[in-house]
Assembly symmetry: D2
């Protein structure tokens, strides 16, 4: 049971499960807009945005600022400006994984060679620029709420938990949905985030979503899946969802403000930065209610 | 006639003309979705993305790639991955200007001190993280089409041009709209972009839009406004729209695919990366038809 | 008692105490070469090189590597290559402070305005590119050895300690010398460096060196001076030596291999990267015995 | 005729021709110091430092500057400071190539596998941190002077040219020397540097130096060797000197001030930044006369 979605959308397909979202799905998503409320699902980005130990934090360099004028810089025609440069790992803060981000057996989603992803040129196949905008129905599965609060570190979320949260949401994940799972992970931390001990999906729960043909799986933790991993596996959910099902993962979401609206289905809109050959992108998704 | 919108939304307001977009506007925007078609308005980002001479181009560093595995890197539990780091000026490719980006007389929009924008800490006020998501009606003014093709470099777009394009669009810019102006600038260049000679808005045209209380002004050129500047001014449209009216500018859009749909009004959705104290952000806007 | 060396070498001087090194001093330094042994005084640089909490660590990006060829990259004419990009705070690892690095009362060394050091253009005065090469007699003051081992964190080194170490070295610091002080700080740490609790010079000891007209003061700790600071001062040694005496500080040295040679005076040679307007530079000094 | 120096200094050697420099050579170099004059051979580094088209220029970010204080930043205990971050390709400005920089047939100098140089971890073998300091006799071969001025772009320097310049220098390159070749390339350019048309060594001239067992070959151009390459080869001098002879190349030198001293032999001292696994390093060499 591997490679479930390979060749499903042709041998050249690089968008995977995003193909589940058709024009009808977009129209249905727009029809969910009843309040005219827009909720951001993105973390603020700064050098203080938490990153796991193997990644460097974001850096923010101001090339020109008001300080320059205070110190005497010229202002031709009265014009004053400030500008800046950003350095960040693509997988920082709220971000989405491209289908070239994770694989095994030297093959990416749809059988593209892993060796086509090179240091000198990025990913020849399944780069983030191939993903395109994501506009679909969003479904919030508030596992934290159904557990009565943020899940403890290392809690595995199983199929039963998703079924329960779906029932509470009044809506089961369906084909083409963007499913967002609230664990409460980042909310319960008091300044200290443990990246190696997160509540998250177990492999069965992830496959349950994949079988429902969802387009994207997102969560408010860093890895979507539970950490530490079970049974000596290494990122088993990443391996199966991204590489076999072609499902992009949306990580580091801020979900509490959305949860507080009381709405579980909504119009979801996001668009990664189309970095040519990129393995992911910081992203600023919105829920439109 | 300056500071038109200062204090309009309170002394602490940092969102400016985005306040024109209310819940009704969001609902009306969603109601424009009739086809279920999603069009990206963003340029691809790579070291080849054109930047003006005073800015450095984007850099894309792959920290881990398929080449590492080809060269013998370990794959614990079969897991293979690629990841990357991005370096880019915030005002690269398709991007949006924060209200702290441009000012004069040492005061930002709403009277905040320019000196509050420091090299060591970014913008204390009107940083890009204050902007929030933008979901509104989009209106395409296809000045290129109404001129019979891309405008020559340095062509000033006046009020009459906007009125004509509005008539052809069948829709005049109104309160809370995101107005997108197609000049054809980047389309007509053959590999060579001249950043100092662009077709763009003259000051009167910009003020005409501001008076209609639009929320955002965007274009497919780099500066929104015509370059070279008229009468020895320096970025007069930036000075007036951003600082006096609080209108963010959305630059470097890709508008030809949208123009080819034949639709002039649509649901517009975008959300800058919320970089704390940032002067702008790369952005990936979408038009939903 | 401030500004001791201002105007000593003219109103335009930007090299400060380095002016103490004349041609005779260089010749005497060369005459110290008796063994033909060259000892590096520099730390290795990598993302693991310790930095204080307010600075980001070095990053090392490989743009092209052997992995690309393993993954199939072309090799025109057989040619294969690897290359990389470095990102680092100028004050990382073994580095030297430019005279524009620290000041007070808005004036740099020699009275240049602090406001001339701008975010948009670096330091107009006393940038690291003004320093030039440093070739002089080096004198090792092995305070760690004279204390019988690495000094505990937070130990203040006073004048008596320097006098004692000078006596053991058989050589007192003199005009134009590069004085290197071994505290043992980095050597005694087991993987954990505390940047806010270092053994180092107290202010009197620093002034004692300045009065001897040394050209450079270096040490194997990060701040030269003791931390925490005494009496609510903030970097008092930096303020006085750099700004008033024009003495560059050479920080993060590796001094144990030099100490093990048994030589206390030697030819010292180093040259900062001449970054225009830079506040410091990583540097790789050598002792030639 | 390949791999000339492989195994010459043992199967584990990563320093190549630098092993030609023994203690006697260092002492002889120091004995050349007769004037006490120190001459920098390094270019200034700034975003304007020329780089070939496939590399990005240096970037210099000021994190804290005098502008911050002008704009109101606090100064605890009176303390004011400026600091900065550098981003640069390792092969920028005046720099030295590590022995892992260039190879062919998948093998580096001394037979180490090219695949050991990975994007994720740098060079396992022959990284720049293995090189150590370089202190030796320097010999200037002023080919520009012997030609009566800077060589035209694309001029091949042959063995006869080196022999002639050696005669004029009064000193032939010998074992362990650092040989510096002045072509005048960068001096004759008026603001425009052509990186693909440089005067430089032909392969025979390079091999002539290698056979004399020099330790390092340097020049004031970017590639040491003539460009365009002869006979469809690609960097033939790099391939042979670095990979087969283990000779590091020192590029982008500033040699005119040295030439103007009238001295052709001198003490040479330089030390690359010891970047772990780095393929090269910016460097600031000095000639001590």
């Amino acid at each position: 049971m591997t490679r479930e979605n390979w060749n499903r959308w042709g041998a050249d397909d690089e968008r995977g499960a995003l193909n589940h979202i058709g024009a009808e799905a977009v129209k249905l998503a727009a029809a969910l807009v009843t309040r005219g409320q827009v909720v951001s699902l993105a973390q603020n980005l700064s050098p203080r945005t938490p990153v796991p130990p193997h990644r460097a934090g974001m850096q923010h360099f101001m090339g020109r600022s008001g300080g320059d004028y205070a110190a005497g810089a010229k202002r031709p025609g009265g014009f004053q400006f400030a500008e800046d440069t950003l350095l960040m790992p693509a997988h920082t803060g709220t971000h989405i994984d491209a289908l070239c981000h994770v694989w095994y057996d030297d093959q990416l989603y749809n059988g593209f060679p892993g060796a086509g992803t090179r240091g000198s040129s990025g990913a020849a196949r399944c780069g983030i620029e191939k993903m395109g905008p994501i506009v679909a129905r969003g479904v919030l599965l508030d596992v934290a709420a159904s557990h009565g609060g943020p899940l403890p570190d290392g809690t595995a979320i199983g199929v039963a938990d998703l079924v329960k949260a779906s029932r509470e949401a009044g809506s089961e994940p369906a084909k083409g949905d963007v499913v967002l799972i609230r664990t409460g992970w980042a909310e319960r931390q008091n300044g200290t985030i443990l990246f190696d001990a997160e509540p998250g999906l177990d492999l069965d729960a992830a496959l349950w979503l994949a079988e429902r043909e969802v387009a994207v799986v997102g969560a408010d933790n860093f890895a979507i899946e539970v950490m530490p991993f079970a049974n000596g596996k290494v990122f088993p959910v990443h391996q199966r969802l991204i590489r076999d099902f072609g499902i992009p993962l949306l990580e580091g979401l801020v979900l509490r403000p959305l949860a507080e609206t009381g709405r579980y289905t909504f119009m979801f809109a996001a668009h990664p930065l189309p970095v040519v050959g990129g393995t992911g992108s910081p992203i600023s998704p919105v829920a439109i209610l």
